[in-house]
């Protein structure tokens, strides 16, 4: 139910003004936010912040360091002050206020970098990101802002990535390969946290966390499609830690999905099994001490082929869940991932006509079957919706 629909009913004379007001107050209806303006505002904010960072990076010798530092601080505080002013005085421009706060948070990182530049600090770079993350984390909750929350999540994951990838990182091991081992588990954990948050006081951020986790997991599964170039043999401690984290994530996922009442029990089980499969498979793929480290060797690699087939099934599950939950996000992500899976499988087969031909036939038949299946499900879903909206005769 949208505010515009209620307004229209009132304008056309079907609804008295007091009834309209009572409905609006009861259901807390608001003007639908203009998503286009929101996207433009966020992109604009990010561009401004990136521009300031580049200007700082240019590092003009002629500007005294005091002026640089004061300007940096003033820009950060000014941006937050502008956001606060708009938020409190012009509630209609909520998205613009959020964009200002976003710029302020990115400028906090720019200021940390500026201090490092001015004083020629060369300590561990992950420290700067850690300080940034800790500094901006409370703002997301205080402002109840989703863009701030996404920035905070991204800062946390960036810090973790730097600890894995930077040669001075606390979690660095052999070219940073441990990131490929741990990140899928982290993203499944985020997804589970998101599902759980939707039934908690932090429900405003539940949907974003869930989506962030699923998109992140999708990206982290793609390297598996290129074969077992991962050889994260980090010793017993790493594997014990991975087993512990995976078990905790699986337990969290189990409890989170248990409360997902919109899904039938069978599909909750299938979805749980699919995500837990990836936790186990990623561990096995990283344990695998394959001699294949080159692209062309990937076509004979069991990791790549198993990952391709498993991802295909994973996407089908996602599409079906999307239909059951009425979620466009699930369907779109499932289909996008499916497309990438098929393209990567084809690329891997380049140069062998027999395998390419076989793969084309199998996946072509698969796609036709999938199309028929999705169309059937869609029709059933539409029929159910129609039945639900048709008034029953007394």
């Amino acid at each position: 139910m949208k505010l515009q629909d209620i307004q229209r009913l009132h304008t056309d004379g079907f609804l008295a003004a007091d009834v309209r007001d009572r409905i609006v107050a009861h259901y807390k209806l608001q003007d639908a936010p203009n998503r286009f303006i929101a996207i433009i505002a966020v992109i604009g904010g990010v561009l401004v912040a990136a521009g300031v960072i580049l200007l700082i990076s240019a590092n003009w010798d002629d500007i005294p360091r005091g002026v640089k530092l004061i300007t940096g601080l003033a820009l950060m505080l000014g941006s937050h002050a502008a956001g606060w002013w708009i938020r409190t005085r012009h509630a209609d421009f909520h998205k613009t206020a959020e964009a200002f706060h976003l710029v302020g948070s990115v400028l906090f990182l720019a200021d940390i970098a500026l201090i490092g530049q001015v004083y020629h600090l060369s300590s561990r770079p992950p420290n700067a990101i850690l300080v940034w993350w800790v500094g901006i984390a409370p703002l997301a909750w205080l402002l109840r802002s989703k863009p701030q929350y996404i920035l905070t999540l991204s800062a946390a994951l960036l810090w973790l990535a730097m600890e894995f990838l930077h040669d001075k990182g606390w979690l660095h091991h052999h070219r940073g390969e441990l990131a490929l081992l741990f990140y899928p588990a982290i993203f499944v954990g985020l997804y589970a946290a998101g599902v759980g948050m939707e039934r908690s006081p932090a429900k405003d951020f539940g949907s974003v966390t869930r989506r962030y986790g699923l998109v992140g997991l999708s990206f982290m599964l793609l390297p598996l499609l290129f074969g077992s170039h991962v050889s994260s043999r980090g010793g017993d401690l790493v594997w014990s830690l991975y087993a512990l984290i995976s078990a905790a994530v699986a337990a969290g996922l189990f409890f989170a999905l248990r409360g997902e009442a919109k899904l039938p029990l069978m599909w909750r089980g299938i979805w749980f099994g699919t995500l837990v499969f990836w936790l186990v498979f990623v561990g096995m793929a990283c344990l695998n001490d394959s001699p294949h480290t080159r692209w062309e060797a990937g076509r004979h690699d069991w990791v790549a082929w198993t990952a391709s087939i498993a991802l295909f099934a994973h996407c089908l599950v996602m599409v079906n869940l999307g239909l059951l939950l009425g979620s466009r996000f699930f369907i779109n992500l499932g289909l996008s991932l499916l497309t990438l899976d098929v393209i990567i499988a084809y690329l891997r087969l380049f140069g062998t006509m027999a395998l390419t031909g076989a793969m084309f036939i199998v996946s072509g038949v698969g796609l036709i079957v999938l199309g028929v299946f999705i169309e059937k499900r869609r029709r059933a879903f539409m029929l159910k919706l129609q039945e639900a909206s048709t008034p029953t005769k007394p």
Partner: protein, 179 residues
Amino acid sequence: MNPRHFIAVLAAQTLLLLALIAQQEYRLAAPTTVLLETAPVDPRDLLRGDYVILNYKVSNLTNSLWETAPAGQTGHGLPVFVSLEQRGEFHEAVLLSTTRPEPLPNRVVIQARTQPSWGNNQVRVEYGLERYYVQEGTGNPRGKLTVQVAVDAAGKPVIKQVFLDGKPYAEAMREQMKP
């Protein structure tokens, strides 16, 4: 939302930045300075721009400088103290120790951390002075680089000034880049 909480977070962010600035300014104001020899390399940092990597003569030390050689591996971030003495124009390392040495009038003690080294008889140390951020496009100097370093009472060093052939870096680069 309570505006006091919002202001408290912004104040915490600002205080953190000011604390970082104050710490560095305190070090820069230290009366002790040393002059070190170095050789440059010029990469770029995503956030902080162009910089020159400074490879100091006192970064590669011989094992004979150990006051008492520590047991086990020394190449993984072990905190150490490097005692410097002025030899001609520059300061050079004369002692390496894991505990702070007794202060001597002609010596300056700097804190450092050990790094993995290729040589058997060598100890590589980092002082946190290995990067010098410069204006865009001026990170490829020709000539002799020397670095003036301020050292505070605790032995923490910070770059005060970099000279190229005896002139301040920015000025020397402007001259070098004249058509």
